[in-house]
Symmetry: C2
């Protein structure tokens, strides 16, 4: 019995660790994305429905591979696109940027993400590099992109 207990102690943590690894985001936090190319922006202002929950600025950033994709509409492996959601603050003469709500990340990897059109999706909450959104799940992200797509899962285009 003692030997069995020791074996259990050794096996259980290893199993737990493996489970944690699976639970981690398969999409890595996009380090340095703030210095990537700014693709375009939009805002959800007080005049718009959804302001309470999503009001603010949405900035899109792309790494060099994704910029090739925006030019050719064929996004190469390794393309990463970040959708950066910020709150909005009312200043005297303009709306300014507030705290970060979340970032949504898309990563092109045809093999790893074959089940979702070759793209991995993930939402990281606020400024956290590890806290993931409970919803939308990566599958929900994909389903919506797949429904809205025109010429691919990247819905927007580069604004010169």
């Amino acid at each position: 019995m003692k030997l069995a207990s020791i074996v259990c102690i050794l096996i259980v943590p290893a199993t737990a660790f493996a489970w944690l690894a699976v639970a981690e985001s398969p999409v890595a936090y996009p380090e340095g994305y703030r210095s990537w190319t700014h693709v375009k922006s939009s805002t959800i202002a007080p005049a718009h429905k959804g302001f309470e929950t999503n009001g603010g600025f949405q900035h899109v950033y792309a790494n060099p591979q994704a910029m090739t994709g925006y030019r050719t509409r064929a996004f190469p492996e390794g393309s990463v696109i970040v959708f950066d959601w910020l709150e909005m603050q009312q200043g005297e003469t303009s709306f300014t940027e507030g705290p970060r709500r979340q970032i949504d990340v898309m990563v092109k990897d045809g093999k790893r993400f074959a089940a979702t059109g070759g793209w991995g999706f993930q939402r990281f909450m606020k400024d956290s590099k590890t806290e993931l959104a409970a919803a939308p799940t990566p599958e929900q992200c994909f389903a919506c992109h797949d429904r809205l797509k025109k010429d691919g899962l990247v819905l927007g285009s580069y604004r010169p």
Copy 2:
């Protein structure tokens, strides 16, 4: 007389060309600024005064030298900052970017622009690389930056 006419023909165009060169912007059009680092954004929405003339998005971009400046607040020679003004279009769920109104450019060159705090200023109209704004003049730009300054002529800061 004939010889004098020929001399005039030769001299006048040369003089006109020199005058044009002087009239050109001492601040070069910032080629490639759309791939520089996006510093921050603001918007002037319909709720704000000035919407009619200046409504829309304002995006700030910085070249690598200027990014050093944003980190240290000591902007090295060659720093270039672009203030990109776009119109705003009302979409169903958000405001989206419209045509470009103008870009405002600041260039750090302590010798050439010693009279305006070491910075050259220029506004280029719409998408033109040559059409300059009649107003504000570079001197007017400087006067306002000089009046508003807190720790230098660069009024804003980098949003992480």
